[in-house]
Symmetry: D2
Subunit: 240 residues, 4 copies
């Protein structure tokens, strides 16, 4: 938001972006264990305003999405962005897609076979593709299995970690989640070992950052850890 | 839903209720400590269909609500219901109102001075008034202040208790919440004493039921306790 | 909620239901056009309290759900309910499942190929199965294609119809939606014909009711039509 | 997110911000007609990480908020930010507050006396205060009062305008909303006059931009107009 030097300059009252948003759509995404996974995405598509945009062009976003029906995923992001740029004669194109991803776990029979993770991807194309992936990893309180009588063992939600990454190479969603989960397990271990008296948003943020920094395929990342307190949350964030 | 004996009988395709819903409105409610509290309510108002209802009568609901502007609360429920019955020539009138209620606590300075509770009231009038009040009380995990090193002390949400009551006499919202909180504290004590190894939805439901049964002003009640597990909740309910 | 005659009677502080809720799970449902459809469901499972229930039995709900992994739908509801009754030694078992259902439409290329409908099913088993199905059908304002200059043609949300049905025979989700949509189209036609000046919640509720009453496969039903006004909704309901 | 040149450089795994979020709190805000208005805010407070931050310092955010209990508003934002910077020894402090604001309207008795608007403010202080205000203004479809028989007159939601402004001078919330509403009315007039056949997100975005550019007190602004289509939204944005 810049200052208005000349309010008469009507050229400055210019549309910057146009598009469609909150389209709910069935999609398939790549799945490490089962090759592909069916899920439901919420999709936003928009372009930096082309020179000769008309309202009727809005339908082109939907036409492009329809053409990729059932086949949307990381791999088709580039093609969709290319087609948006071309069909709408735009300088830059953007697609955002958020979806639930289920991780199949070979856990005990009384544990849910499919754990849900909220994911989102943001792809953009001006001259080069850019892709950012985000996942929310829930942080449960450690169950004190070997705890002495007198200590609560019921589960409960401690909070969550929100991790965004950009890529050098391909990496499975499963491996990003695994990398975050490993840091959570390490934090938990420091508590069992008596090195630390409690989970802390700062310490967990740093551990997740350290864990992500060791992944070759990850180029850049940001981490936000939130702890549900009584009636609100505390949080810490980092970027790299 | 009953079986359709005679599908030709068009008199059975009858409207049963008409009304307005999800009106967001500033209201005041009675507050034990400060005499009254300003909050925002979501209001639903409806009647069992009057004989000569016209669409234009919808505005009467809003007119009645406007007349009680800023003065809606337990005390005015009866007047609103009476006016709805009369102005809309209906056999029965209903009002539902959900709102956030803040409890002021003389706690340590680092604790929030105002704790939020989700409340709702449902009043109806056919020949006699009926009023039901509901409150959601969050259940935190006990903080193990005196815990040995190696045990987590961070807060976290264990779950919540949803309590509905009908009344014999007037009782403050504060006293209903206090009654539920006392049961939660008792449950927590059994854990510290080693009588029980963990919070349980069944045991906490029973303790809250026992606590409410001892309140003279409370006529009937129902209790539902929910525990947030990893990705879902477990629950128990009772009614009295 | 009944009056408490004898507050000493501790047998009355009894748990009524126990279960699990808000489990998010990938499921498949029957699809008229494509034989089956992958979607994501939110599942609640509970039983009327068995005599010898222990907290550890909570995991049995998840075990049963896991066994039907990927195969949950109308057809498996009966088997799941049977297994819940047996494994938890309960008098009655309940399963609720809400999910997004996408209807593929052979529409113009600029229209979304898949339209989302919010659906839910509630099955229960005491001695006999009972199954109720609910769907929310959005009601858009008619686009005045042939309208004179000076009349708005932009789309917008007028409201929605919420329809619950019980069954005599099997009926496709597509056919229930089609039946509701036909009533919406008829209402719209009365406006174009000049018989009526506007959509009305009462009139649309009656038209949907009449339409559902003609479906052989539908045993009973309830209808609720809501119109989004500025800042709130008006509504009418009927039951049959 | 920058590239990781040296993954051994542990100084780069640094916390950037810490704070509290989603605190629900009763507040008062300035009201043009009634001097002040009681409402409920959701508050986030955070600082760029101070050098010697400890987890226990989290409680200072709550202590500061408590001290301004009941008196939070535009006027106290500066004091809160100053205190956050000082007490937490931080380089920069931020406060975000979103709240419902009710506009009292002297309208017909059947119209709601209080119309709800979603507002938010974001204040930050490094060396200088910065304040941004956002409001969401619903856009209803024009009611065609003088319409010929055969044209729908029922209300419905066309969409909404999301407007963010920064300030040169003080301006009432009422006047910002009025400025946006005036642009909506102008757009509607072009339709009644037959100059345009429908509301359009681009045209309405430009009209709101032109209207805001004429307000002396407004320094910079951004506008986003969204139109609810069947199952998704179309939108246009601009910035100045």
């Amino acid at each position: 938001m810049k200052d208005i030097q000349n309010q008469e300059d009507h050229r400055r009252i210019n549309i910057k972006k146009v598009g469609v948003k909150t389209i709910s759509y069935p999609v398939t995404v790549l799945d490490k264990a089962r090759s592909k996974q069916h899920t439901i995405a919420t999709v936003n598509m928009y372009v930096n305003l082309p020179h000769h945009f008309k309202g009727t062009h809005m339908s082109r976003f939907v036409e492009i999405l329809n053409r990729f029906h059932g086949e949307i995923g990381l791999s088709s992001f580039h093609c969709i962005l290319e087609e948006m740029k071309e069909k709408l004669e735009a300088e830059a194109a953007h697609i955002e897609m958020s979806f639930a991803y289920f991780l199949s776990e070979n856990a005990a029979p009384e544990t849910l076979k499919a754990t849900r993770y909220e994911c989102s991807m943001h792809g953009s194309l001006e001259t080069e593709d850019e892709l950012e992936f985000q996942v929310v990893v829930p942080v449960s309180l450690p169950l004190l299995e070997q705890a002495e009588p007198g200590l609560p063992r019921s589960p409960g939600e401690w909070g969550r970690a929100i991790v965004s990454v950009t890529f050098r190479n391909f990496i499975w969603i499963e491996d990003i989640i695994g990398c975050v989960q490993q840091a959570i397990d390490t934090e938990q271990q420091t508590i069992f070992n008596g090195e630390q008296r409690s989970f802390s948003v700062e310490s967990l943020t740093r551990k997740i950052g350290t864990s992500l920094a060791q992944e070759e395929a990850i180029k850049g990342f940001s981490v936000r850890v939130e702890n549900l307190a009584r009636g609100y949350s505390t949080f810490a964030t980092m970027e790299n």
